[in-house]
Each structure stands twice: as C-alpha cells, then as structure tokens.
Symmetry: C2
Subunit: 154 residues, 2 copies
C-alpha cells in the first residue's frame, strides 16, 4: 500500500497551459463508494487498476496495478459505471514538485483543477499564481463524484 497525500485547487488563469504538453486520460469506476474506490484508467497506451481506501484528511491508502490495455478497454465499456470521465492532464514540474492540472472535457468541460501530491500532510510548497482556492475537502470535485454529478449541471 502506498499513502496518497494530495491537495487539490481550482485554477484561476490559463498560464499553466504553456508549461507542459497534455496527455489524454479516460477513467471510470467499478466502485465509487467512498472508502472502496476501484478505478480503471487509460493514459496513452498504458492502463492501470487503482484501489483507494478511506480518506483521513488529505491522505488515503492506494494500491495500483498495471493491467493490459485490452482489459482496461473491456472494463471501461462493460464493468465500469457510466459515463467515463475524460480529461487532458498537464504535468508541470515546479520547485521540485509536480503539479497535475486536469482539464476536463465532456459533461465536466469548463472545470480545471490542479493537484499536488505531497510526501507529508504538512509539507510546505509554493503556490504558483495560476493556482487559486483549495478544494481538497470539497468532495464534489472528486473524480468518483464528477461522473455522477458533472460540473455542467452544478
């Protein structure tokens, strides 16, 4: 088990766009129950099955397994809850940390969030000027909720 410690923010300008090239991701959930999340994700030609446990603050247990791309395609179309979430992810290296900016498409178009994975809950970091309000504790922004209650319908 790894521990995922992650802070999430809204994005307040487009200045991040010039900092990285996007990769397209498709993901969906076999289980989206809080504390028992089972996610299938395809990124380019690679695919991952990820299990996520109960959140404690901004931390939670995470188990990740690479799976064959063909399995992931089958799982997305047959086993996963619909609809699939689609987004462009920009990985931006800044001050030794990696900001992941997710630009959602489809029913969540218009939503852009920035995630920062940390080594500890108290780890300090510099917030770039394109990073706005923190939404780490607002569960509406969890991907496992966004497919059920997409941003366009808020």
């Amino acid at each position: 088990m790894g521990i995922e410690i992650e802070r999430k923010f809204l994005v307040v300008s487009d200045r991040w766009q010039q900092l990285a090239q996007p990769v397209f991701m498709r993901q969906a959930y076999i289980s989206s129950t809080p504390g028992r999340v089972v996610r299938v994700r395809i990124e380019g030609q690679s695919a991952m099955l990820t299990l996520k446990g109960k959140s404690s603050g901004i931390s939670r247990g995470e188990w990740e397994y690479p799976i064959p791309l063909i399995d992931a395609e089958e799982l997305l179309s047959t086993l996963c809850e619909q609809p699939i979430i689609e987004k462009n992810r920009y990985r931006i290296d800044l001050d030794g940390l990696v900001w992941e900016v997710d630009e959602f498409v489809g029913e969540n178009a218009g939503l852009v969030v920035a995630e920062l994975e940390l080594q500890s809950e108290s780890q300090a970091f510099i917030k770039p000027d394109w990073v706005g309000e923190e939404i780490s504790h607002d569960h509406r922004y969890a991907n496992a909720n966004l497919f059920k209650h997409p941003y366009s319908r808020w």
Copy 2:
C-alpha cells in the same frame, strides 16, 4: 477477459473428502454489487484480485490479476467488506474435469458446494454420486452474498 462458465451444486455425502487435499482460502469483496464484483483472495502464499461482470445464465466475464500477498492482507483487513469468507477448497480431478468442492467455515459452516468450470454452457459431464441438487441459479449461494447472509442464519 476470460469467460467464466460455472455450474454449482450441493454436496450430498462426504465421499469427496478422500479424493483431494484441501487448501485454505480467505476472500472478501471490495464490491459485491451484482455485475461489478471485485474480489480479493488469498490461497496459501499467493493472492489474486478478480473482477467479475454481469451473469448471463451460467456465464460471466472475469478478469484476474495476481497481486502481492502483503497487498492482499492489507486489502482484506482495510478495504474489503466484512466479514471475510473462509473455506477449505478441494480440487478433484474426475473424467478430465476439475470439481472444486468448497467446505465453508465460520458463519457459513455446514455449507459444502461443488463447482464445475466448463468450456461451454452445453458441455456434458458425469455427475459423481456425491454431487446433488444444482444451485447455479440460486444467488444465495454466491460467495458475494454468503458473507452478508451467511448459511447459519438462513
């Protein structure tokens, strides 16, 4: 994806016990929703994460991934729905087929079922004299239901 085609039966005598040595299994579910089953199983020193799709008759899609034993122990104790199912499995080779006899313990003690995995739904087979009534379509006997509604409380 593999297709699991399986028939399940009650067992009517103890004559199967002398035909194989048991292996002890512990398993539980991250999702037990019909059509979206996510199972963690430990058998001896090996562990498996298995996804199962919607049943169509006695068939359903199945995806299996070996996972580290330590992950499986963590998943069984933290992520999985409780309680865990524990059983002794006897694999019995007969006429080129493998009968898997599951002798449940704990809250399902007293229940013994025999499963037969087939290559096609219409595949013929010889029923040994210790195999009784077919329960393939009785969902009470699904392991994903037995932990919630154990045999001792029927």
